[in-house]
Symmetry: C2
Subunit: 387 residues, 2 copies
């Protein structure tokens, strides 16, 4: 194959962005050949802006079966990521899904199983993995520079949303329509980076969620989660859509020092001697290990959505390793599900989450949800406005 013919399912906010850079030919080896949306306005937009050379479909299966595409990008509401990905993979198509991987792990595990059997290239749009800040952080952790992990604290409260944002779509911030709030819509990137940079998930979670705390919505818009890792390290994740201006600050402590990412900078306070060694050997009472504040160079640029798409295309054409394999999407979702479940049960939740229990609790909330799904397939292609 010399060129990957791509269809985009869902040309709302995200899908439109993907369609635009693909139509401009900005991803080498990729050609946009088809789009799909149930909203006639979006198809009219496609006709006017992408030209007649890009086929238009109302139904995703029709796009998949058209023979016009080698791979699909799926940019529809969260619940529909797994069923559409499964449908495409079963048809022998490569798949790149938007985040989150889905709403509950039971559903996503099935998607991952089908993907593994398909042998197709399956990616997920964790575009923040292209940010060199987090790549450098991952490097410092994985290479051992930070030393054995002691603590992580991510304050990610700069996801401010007003009531008018939530009122802009009836499905938004409902259990039935979106399957969650700030954890499902705004935080998937941070939840992914949290586990991806560390290379591990915590083993248990105790979380505290405010549901409709700052807005007239039924899902969570304020979360504080405490986690414990296998080696005894602990972590905290604090997030909200109800604070302005909010904070995005990720701090990590390890045996060899401390790293803080804030305001687009990474700073490493490096201990000359690892703390555990100092603790064993020092005899002086008060005192602490010598510490150097290091400015770490950050090279490269964040290639974002386009970078993830290009990587997926390159994986299809040349076997390039994926930066964000689709199968890894379940890990951020596992964290979000654990936080919900811990708040719902007011108790600890072990990871992996008991997926049947989570599903049961979620269904209860869907039954009582304010959002009533429209009949027919239209819902599938509601536009996706998350980032």
């Amino acid at each position: 194959m010399e060129e990957v013919r791509i269809g985009i399912i869902g040309i709302g906010n995200m899908g439109t962005g993907h369609a635009t850079y693909l139509a401009r030919g900005e991803v080498p080896g990729a050609r946009l050949t088809a789009v799909c949306d149930t909203n006639p306005d979006r198809l009219a937009w496609a006709r006017a802006n992408l030209g007649e050379g890009v086929a238009r479909f109302e139904h995703p299966e029709a796009l998949m079966d058209s023979g016009l595409v080698d791979g699909v990008m799926i940019a529809v509401p969260h619940y529909d990521h797994p069923p559409l990905a499964i449908a495409a993979l079963r048809r022998g198509l490569h798949v790149l899904i938007e985040k989150p991987a889905g709403v509950y792990t039971k559903q996503v595990r099935e998607m991952n199983r089908v993907a593994a059997e398909s042998g197709k290239v399956f990616g997920i749009m964790f575009n923040q993995r292209t940010n060199p800040l987090y790549q450098k952080l991952r490097d410092l952790i994985q290479s051992g520079e930070l030393g054995e992990l002691k603590r992580t604290i991510w304050i990610i409260t700069n996801w401010y949303r007003s009531q008018s944002y939530y009122d802009s779509g009836g499905w938004r911030a409902t259990w039935a329509g979106e399957g969650g709030g700030v954890l499902a819509n705004q935080d998937p990137h941070q939840l992914d980076l949290w586990q991806w940079t560390l290379g591990q998930l915590p083993k248990r979670v105790r979380a505290f969620c405010g549901f409709g705390k700052w807005h007239d919505i039924e899902v969570e818009d304020d979360v504080t989660a405490y986690v414990e890792y296998e080696n005894g390290a602990t972590g905290v994740f604090i997030t909200s859509t109800g604070e302005a201006p909010g904070t995005n600050r990720f701090e990590l402590s390890g045996d060899r020092g401390k790293i803080v990412i804030e305001d687009g900078k990474l700073t490493f306070w490096r201990l000359r001697v690892p703390e555990r060694q100092f603790n064993r050997e020092y005899r002086g009472g008060f005192g602490q290990p010598e510490c150097w504040k290091c400015e770490i160079p950050i090279q490269g640029t964040e290639t974002g959505h386009k970078g993830i798409t290009a990587n997926w295309v390159s994986a299809i054409l040349h076997g390039t390793p994926l930066l964000a394999p689709g199968e890894e999407g379940i890990r951020a979702l596992e964290l979000a599900n654990a936080m919900h479940l811990s708040a719902w049960t007011d108790d600890w939740v072990e990871i992996p989450v008991d997926e049947d229990l989570y599903y049961h609790h979620l269904q209860e909330r869907i039954r009582n949800s304010k959002y009533k799904k429209p009949a027919g397939p239209a819902r599938t292609l509601d536009i996706e406005r998350s980032f």
Copy 2:
């Protein structure tokens, strides 16, 4: 009265500091007339450095009954703050105790009752209340500049201590000798500033403690606590003696913006329109309130221990209001006790803490403590090395 004659009970680390500036005449209206310690070396030090004009006692009651003092400063291990304060107050002496107020609230409540009945001036050495940074923070909160509270996050992990510190005294970091770890010894100032600047305690606490996590000790050296306030605001307090270099960063969010104190600076991100009002009135979907980053001038200097002592002396002589009334010491202790109890019971703890339940749990740990109290009154005057 034109001059307050002061006796210091316990001339270990802290008491020696107090004796030194008093002996130099650095506190107007105060005269050091007596000191007390069970350690002959410390009394020899007193003789050599304070001169024969300062009487020396082995027993605190002898000092109190000597007729040489109008007030006493108590700088002995934590458990003995309340009984010695009670003994002095009952003798009609003014009292200034070192922090923490005691080890368990049951004991401290009795001290507060006696103090109220005594009519004497009762202060506590919360010297960080003299820090203009926290005074300004308190001003911004109490005057309404920050708006209704939404969240507090205090990361106070720069209390690094090595094993050799803990090994320097057999009573140190034991349930029987000190009654706690980082919460009892290092954090009382921050626990006090947390409640003092806000003007409130949370209503419930869920805490996670590591006991002897980083050191060979039996008490907590690592704590993450989540709290909820009456109005629904939440908070997190993270502390440790096992991390280097650690962090001291206090962040607060309110309806009118965000304040961060870090690196000796206070920054206020002020919203032009309160967030709750913006949330109600804005119609534009994405968007957030206009925010101004404000540099807040910090005036005055931190007068520290000497400032608290001078304030206590001035209260005795002139009725000046106390910056740190002794009765308020129970509030920081309430927080520390709640964190212990929540970790011990793996459950929520309401504030005020069930003081009998706390006492019961503490006694259990004292019975199993590695520290065996020396016989006789000597223990009372073990030197106090905390700050």
